[in-house]
């Protein structure tokens, strides 16, 4: 090889590094994973404050059952009689049941309340502020909160008598704690 040819080969155009687009793709994947994942309240976390919304009951020092429901959710409707029974039996002992609706249509919410007349506190989270902070995994989802405000049990979905039995045992356990 002549010196001129060797110089041309050495001084020729340099290709771009293959690692740069790979880094970009990996960064995109990481951003999608982090940005897309939503925060969820887990057992042991302090539950987000329900706030001073109209109809919000006093919950300090009480065992609280927060249930997220909607009028378009069939299992949610099926769960209301169970929560009514729990409220009737354990409210005198310190249980507070709060059903938070995520209905965007106030008429659907009002119609459901008028039809079922639940014997416990019902709130409307129309702006989805509380439900998005809770990050519920499915509809309905209920959270049992102890007297210190910490989430102790989470029920994703409502599965009939089995869920009611589990809730009953958990409520009794939390009410027995100081």
């Amino acid at each position: 090889m002549s010196a001129d040819t060797h110089s041309r080969k050495v001084a020729g155009p340099r290709r771009g590094s293959p690692r740069a687009p790979l880094r970009a793709v990996l960064a995109l994947c990481a951003a999608a994973a982090v940005g897309g994942a939503r925060a969820q309240v887990a057992v042991g976390d302090i539950f987000p404050a329900i706030g001073a919304a109209a109809g919000a009951p006093a919950t300090e020092g009480k065992v609280v059952l927060v249930d997220f429901w909607a009028s378009w959710c069939a299992p949610c409707k099926a769960s209301f009689p169970a929560y009514g029974r729990l409220s009737a039996e354990y409210a005198p002992k310190g249980l507070v049941v709060v059903a938070v609706s995520v209905d965007e249509d106030p008429k659907a919410y009002a119609s459901f309340i008028k039809k079922f007349s639940p014997p416990f506190a019902v709130l409307l989270d129309r702006e989805h502020a509380l439900v998005s902070r809770a990050g519920v995994p499915t509809m309905p989802t209920s959270y049992l909160i102890d007297r210190r405000g910490r989430v102790r049990f989470i029920h994703a979905g409502y599965h009939g008598p089995a869920t009611e039995r589990a809730l009953r045992a958990e409520v009794e356990r939390l009410l027995s704690e100081p």
């Binding site: 293959p18 690692r19 687009p21 790979l22 793709v25 990996l26 995109l28 994947c29 999608a32 994973a33 897309g36 994942a37 939503r38 997220f68 909607a70 378009w72 959710c73 069939a74 299992p75 949610c76 995520v102 209905d103 965007e104 249509d105 989805h128 439900v131 998005s132 519920v136 995994p137 499915t138 509809m139 309905p140 989802t141 979905g157 409502y158 599965h159």
Partner: protein, 80 residues
């Protein structure tokens, strides 16, 4: 093929596979469980009229010799 480009292609394929899998995972779903009011409407259920669906299936298979093409779903309240 040189070793460096093959490794890049393998890693790129893995990255795309992870990204694709992430798009279908629950934490990355863009419609949250509490936002499914419209999807829960009965009008969004393609199987709301079994008789009509059976008729269209018959028409499609007898006139066009075709079947399927129903899509991947995704409607419904997604409850429980």
């Amino acid at each position: 093929m040189k070793p460096a480009p093959r490794l890049v292609l393998v890693l790129l394929g893995l990255a795309l596979a992870v990204l694709g899998a992430g798009c279908t995972s629950a934490p990355l779903a863009r419609v949250h469980p509490w936002e499914r009011a419209l999807l829960a409407d009965s009008i969004m259920d393609p199987g709301r009229d079994p008789l009509g669906t059976a008729m269209m299936d018959h028409v499609t298979s007898s006139r066009e010799a075709a079947a399927g093409g129903r899509g991947v779903g995704g409607a419904g309240c997604g409850c429980n």
